[in-house]
Amino acid sequence: MLDLINVSYDTQIPNNVGLSSDKKVLKALERWHPGYINWWNDLIPQNFQESMVYLRTAVSVDPKGWAKFDYVKMPEYRWGVLLAPQVEDRRIPMGEHAGELAWQEVPGEYRNMLKRLIVIQGDTEPGSVEQQRFLGLTAPSLYDMRNLFQVNVEEGRHLWAMVYLLFKYFGKDGREEADDLLRRSSGSEEAPRMLGAFNEETPDWLSFFMFTYFTDRDGKMQLESLAQSGFDPLSRTCRFMLTEEAHHMFVGETGVGRTIQATLDAMNKAGITDPYDINKIREMGVIDLPTIQKKLNLHYTLSLDLFGQEVSTNAANAFNSGIKGRYMETRIDDDHRLQGDTYVVRTVKNGLIVAEDVPALTAINMRLRDDYVRDAAGGVGRWNKLIEKSGIDFRLTLPHEAFHRQIGVFAAIKADPEGNIISDDEWEKRRDEWLPSKADGDFITSLMKPCFEPGKFASWIAAPKVGIDNKPGDFEYVKLHMA
């Protein structure tokens, strides 16, 4: 176990922020660290805590240092505090301060806004670990279990990263917020996580893959826009977090892809060409493509909700203040101030979905969501290539943005996946055609049998093309502790 009394922060916490000489942050960390370890220990089932997991640890920010692979027990994982290297003479990229030197300290007037954004970002990181806490028990392979734990420890590290910013720059308030990040808990009645999607269950592995593909991609977009921040420490933190986030999306994309592949292989082997011959397909212990589409519909729409209101004052304020930019802000060819510009937002007027121009500043969320939709379409295209190659006539699609929404202008209406507005009755009648039904959930759950033998995979998922860290197919990614 970690010796919490004598933590040598420079050795146990890989960092490039001079942690051991920063009295203020050290004092705060000493208080917070035990709570964090308790949180972790109470979270993941005990036999996994004791297991040796082949994990990648970031020990420095240079390309050689941020992916050191080795076996480690998760509670002893070295959660680091790492910021991307400071860019000389970095300027604020957008808003009314565009062109001014980036802030190295928190500007007083934006303190609350910055703190709120950091807290919201910070709240999602442990949230997803909580949602996924029991998945280890039903892992379809040691390879997948390792990927789950990799995602988990890195989300944990991302929490550290946000907590570091709170400690370093937000004084007493920041310390209280950091405590509350450990107090709130996914789905908790007592103190739920701040955003809805992080209080939903992740009941099975297909959900996990969909989550890492769609919901973590929202996280990526948020980090991308915070990486543009005029507050340089936040920008640097997020830039480094993005290097890790890419792996989470890889886990999601390949996870869904391998699930599809297993289905395609089973169908072809049995000579089934009709993707809607659901019972026969399910009998082979794989998940039929229409059900995969339903899962996609669910997670994609929950993720769209995370972008908030299409027209948002908070987003406008954050952009104009130089706190949060757009996706790839510096590559966008405009004045980066947007004061007179407009942006097209779809909305509902008199029962129809119409496009209207709104002031671009207020449509920052919408713009980010549009970028997200484009980004999310890439993997869907690659999944469809797999299906095409197998010769089965089926395409996965992203549903219309008006479909199944809880937040934003479309929350007020019901729409089908093509974006046709329908009545509440119609919605109730057809809901199960579009979203996973209880029966679909039960079926998927019935497949969630652990497969812990090295190199073996559960029936419903194909083996990966290459191993992690180029390890061979039968590599023991997790040395399970059997109590």
Binding site: E96, N112, S188, A191, A315, I364
Partner: protein, 553 residues
């Protein structure tokens, strides 16, 4: 804003509130319809409110007393997830004319005062059960409740973000109730009122911003239990059934005049003057309170109060240029006093109490109406008891002296009653007579000795009850000249002067709200830092910050 703002609400058609009556406890849920704004150009997102939402609330509070006297505790909740109430709608405020902003704030303040006083006046206690963000006007709603319960889910908070966010004040009693009612230490109040995100959890209770902080998992049951406990501990007598408040008998005329069953509102737009004549009761009073209850909303004392109340609100919001209000009465003072006496001698009867408390509120509404007001005590008038209070509410009064040629109405007289010596206090806590005679308290004693006697002009003048008495020769000219002169002054200077002169004597939380807080707020409401083209209120929602003139005034 040309459409008439309507203060009469059909309870079957509330758009923004739901009420569920459960014996002694009423559950009141705020669930604002985004698209139900009174005007175009804004959506009432996140349980934010405009005047329309508040008019419904005022109606609910009023009906709670008259129609649901069995209710002892009212629990105010939000029907939205993660938001209690975001306060007054900013886009509405940003788009509203100064006049509307000021009147909006006045009405919301009156509504807050009304449900705040419901515990003391009627034994109906309001609990705010706060889940989610409770910001600005939302926290002011809670502040006016008698008990605030906050869930401790590590994100629900109470806040007054007006200053940092909008460059205006929490003007619906917020600043005042934090210091005067909840007695928050002033430095903590300073921190609280300048921190956008507010305070949550245990600190909110430590700082006395809320009464209780409750674990989220136990919140709903604790609120229910607390409501039951308060109801059980209530000393309010059990009343089986209330009376129904039906629609008012009311006709609007083209020229701006309005005819009610007991009130005639005569508009003179050219003269910027409106005459409000209250017609006293003709029939004898009901024999007893049982008979009064049977008459219900048709009993004169209640009907007249409702009609005067509606007339004032209508004039305030819909006739801003009728700057001079002339109050008159006509009727038999003795009959009127007999109606009043039934209530005054049965003050422990729930309905008698409610009607008297209602007159108290109506008279307070008169006090804070920013129009020049004069009362004309003419022959045939019935300035007696509660209606005599009008004489002491207005800025000046003129009384007819001796017989007028061709006028065979009974000679003008003023009659005081017990109602003038206690049950109708002003916001400053004093009776209008005590306020009037702040420098000569013996005049109050002398007046009390002569109650129930009709005092004709000379006596009334000697007793200091009227400003001036005028005989047949002078009356017409003097009154005309006064009205013309008064209507010609700057309305701003008049409003300011009158608001200062009307409230002599001690400060109370209520006078501080209507005086200090409102005056500063109304000043800020015309300053460019808030409402200028580049001010915070105008820019709110655009993402661009307000530009401030940094000069201190």
């Amino acid at each position: 804003m040309t459409k008439r703002i309507e203060f009469q609400v059909d309870p079957a058609a509330y758009r923004h509130w739901k009420i569920d009556y459960d014996g002694a406890v009423a559950n009141l849920t705020m669930d604002v319809d985004e698209n139900g704004g009174l005007f175009d150009g804004y959506q009432l997102k996140m349980n934010s409110y405009d005047l329309g939402v508040d008019i419904e609330l005022a109606d609910i509070v009023q009906r709670m007393r008259f129609e649901h006297p069995e209710v002892k505790v009212v629990v105010m909740r939000s029907g939205k997830d993660r938001i209690f109430c975001a306060g007054a709608n900013i886009r509405m405020l940003g788009g509203a004319k100064h006049t509307h902003k000021v009147n909006f704030c006045k009405f919301t303040n009156e509504t807050r005062n009304t449900f705040e006083a419901a515990e003391e006046d009627s034994g109906q206690k309001y609990i705010a059960a706060v889940k989610g963000a409770c910001a600005g006007g939302g926290y002011e709603l809670a502040l006016a409740c008698n008990h605030i319960m906050l869930t401790d889910d590590s994100s629900s908070s109470v806040s007054l973000p007006e200053v940092p966010l909008l460059a205006v004040l929490p003007g619906t009693g917020g600043l005042t109730r934090v210091t005067d009612k909840r007695r928050v230490r002033r430095d903590r109040a300073d921190v609280f009122c300048s921190t956008e995100e507010g305070v949550r959890g245990k600190r909110a209770a430590e700082w006395r911003l809320v009464d209780e902080v409750i674990p989220n998992s136990k919140f709903d049951e604790t609120v229910d239990r607390r409501a039951r406990e308060f109801a059980a501990a209530s000393t309010k007598a059990d009343v089986a059934q209330g009376i129904a408040l039906g629609p008012l008998d009311r006709t609007f005329h083209e020229d701006g005049s309005v005819t009610y069953s007991t009130v005639e509102v005569q508009a003179n737009r050219a003269g910027r003057t409106v005459t409000i004549t209250i017609k006293g009761p003709e029939a004898k009073p009901p024999a007893d309170m049982t008979a009064f209850e049977a008459q219900g909303d048709q009993a004169w004392m209640l009907r007249a109060a409702r009609e005067v109340d509606d007339a004032i609100l209508h004039l305030r919001l819909n006739e801003p240029e009728l700057g001079l209000m002339v109050w008159k009465t006509q009727g038999d003072a003795e009959v009127l006093l007999a109606h009043e006496a039934l209530l005054m001698t049965n003050r422990d009867h729930w309905l008698a109490n409610e009607v008297l408390q209602y007159w108290k509120r109506v008279l307070k509404r008169v006090d804070v109406t920013s129009r020049s007001m004069v009362a004309l005590v003419e022959h045939g008038s019935c300035f007696a008891g509660v209606l005599a209070e009008l004489l002491f509410a207005v800025d000046r009064s003129y009384m007819m002296e001796d017989e007028f040629e061709g006028d065979n109405r009974p000679i003008a007289a003023v009659t005081l009653s017990d109602a003038n010596f206690g049950p109708m206090p002003m916001a400053n806590g004093l009776t209008r007579l005590a306020t009037r005679f702040l420098g000569e308290p013996e005049a109050v004693t002398a007046a009390e000795a002569r109650k129930d006697v009709g005092l004709e002009a000379e006596e009334a003048e000697a007793a200091g009850l009227v400003t001036e008495i005028l005989d047949d020769i002078d009356w017409e000219d003097e009154i005309r000249i006064f009205l013309e002169e008064r209507a010609s002054f700057s309305p701003d200077a008049m409003t300011g002067m009158e608001a200062n002169l009307r409230f002599a004597g001690p400060e109370t939380m209520e006078t501080r709200i209507f005086g200090r807080l409102t005056a500063w707020q109304n000043w800020i409401f015309i300053r460019p830092n808030a409402v200028g083209e580049n001010g915070a209120l105008q820019r709110y929602g655009t993402g661009v910050r307000g530009e401030y003139n940094m000069e201190r005034v």
